[in-house]
Amino acid sequence: MALPEANDFFGWVAYILNEYGSMLLSGAWKTMVIAVISTAIGCVIGFAVGIVQTIPTNRQENPVHWAVVGFFKALLNAYVEIFRGTPMMVQAAFIYYGAAMLFDIHMGTWTAALFIVSINTGAYMAETVRGGILSIDPGQTEGAMAIGMNHMQIMTNVILPQALRNIMPQIGNNLIINIKDTCVLSIISVVELFYNVKSIVGATYAFFPAYSIAMVIYFILTFTCSRILRVIEDRMAGPDSYDLAMNDTLMGEGMTKYRPRPVETNADYRARQEQPETSEGGM
């Protein structure tokens, strides 16, 4: 394909898509893979940290338990504060080059990318999960305690499923932030979307057309994800109706669908009240 004129925006867009389309697609794919996997791992980390942070301890009753759990809580607190409190771009360079220099660990860029985004998301999710757990009515915990469940059983069966639903919007937020923030990984040469766009710019000097394409691709990725997450959220809310098990001889056995009766508007009610009169008048 011949090079377009210097100020022919659409020409350049077409040129870049034609020449570098596969590069953009593979970059977008890698961005998504890093974002999705890291958000998932981050959630697991966040839930684990959140569970530990909410273990109840009592110094008088069981000092050993209190000390051990307290130590791990402090450790996890440090993790959360450090990774929330420093830029991911600096963390990426710090961990990637630090591991190589201090410990002679030469991570692949791919491993490094997943590792860094995961623990970063984990730090944010830990606080989100803690908030989600605290948002659940203490009565739920007491109800579960009263039937003899231990902390782990209460968490996995009662609290976390409810907390998960409450923090779904925040998980979605994290996924979208991760899709965008993977671009900082270009500092350790992770070949994702932004890295590829930069390469294209380097080859063509078509700054505006290339970054315009990047804008559009990033937006398509985040918008699609936010819509999908909204659908998942609605599914988790469950249906408003439920099956009523019938044992009534008149109604027959089995299940019937119970639906809340639709509320009649005042206008409909008046119309219904007036109708018999008009039909009588017609007779």
Binding site: G139, G148, M149, L244
Partner: protein
Amino acid sequence: MSETIIEVRHLQKTFGNHTVLRDMDFTVREGDVTSIIGASGSGKSTLLRCINLLERPSAGEILFHGKPISAKGNDACAYRAKVGMVFQSFNLFNNMTVLENCMVGPIKVLGKKPEEARATAMRFLEKVGMAPYVNARPRQLSGGMKQRVAIARALAMEPEVLLFDEPTSALDPQMVGEVLSVMRQLAEEGLTMIVVTHEMAFARDVSSHVVFMADGVICEEGTSEEVFGNPQNPRTQEFLSRFTNR
């Protein structure tokens, strides 16, 4: 004489500088229906929560079949599985259906098989009249229905004692009636119950033993006839006058 299940001895509970229970002593025998009555703030609910270890007693002890429950190394979870509790605010698990609410305890805590747990749960849901609603979620039920499910959930653990913490205080009069009739039926079947309640008619007619509390101590206790028919303590007389003079 039937076997003693729970003995409360010199129980005290303080929150900071505030003493809620001063010196509680009472005994619950198998098959007893003990009603705890008294003004709000007299420590009734705290006493019940101490019995179920939702609150740690500050001093004194609670014996379950003669063994102290708050001793070190004693498994609070295993104890709670044998002592059920029904709350004022129902506390049904919002993420589960009615049936799942009644099955999760037997499966997770008692290690029952799902089919077995389902059969037990259905038996108790039928008893409280909630069998048609197995697939409903708590938010879809009325208060009285929720409380009946909560009772079925507690019963599904097949506890030795069932504690009721003001089970009807959050309900309208009609729902109060449906919950009390379930509780009355359970009492008649011989379930050991400790009931904190403001329903004086229920306390008078159903309980075998009545405890009147004021300011963290037991003012008066005795059979239903003794406490309601011929109260000795002036505070009991005053408290009950509002009920008996109606």
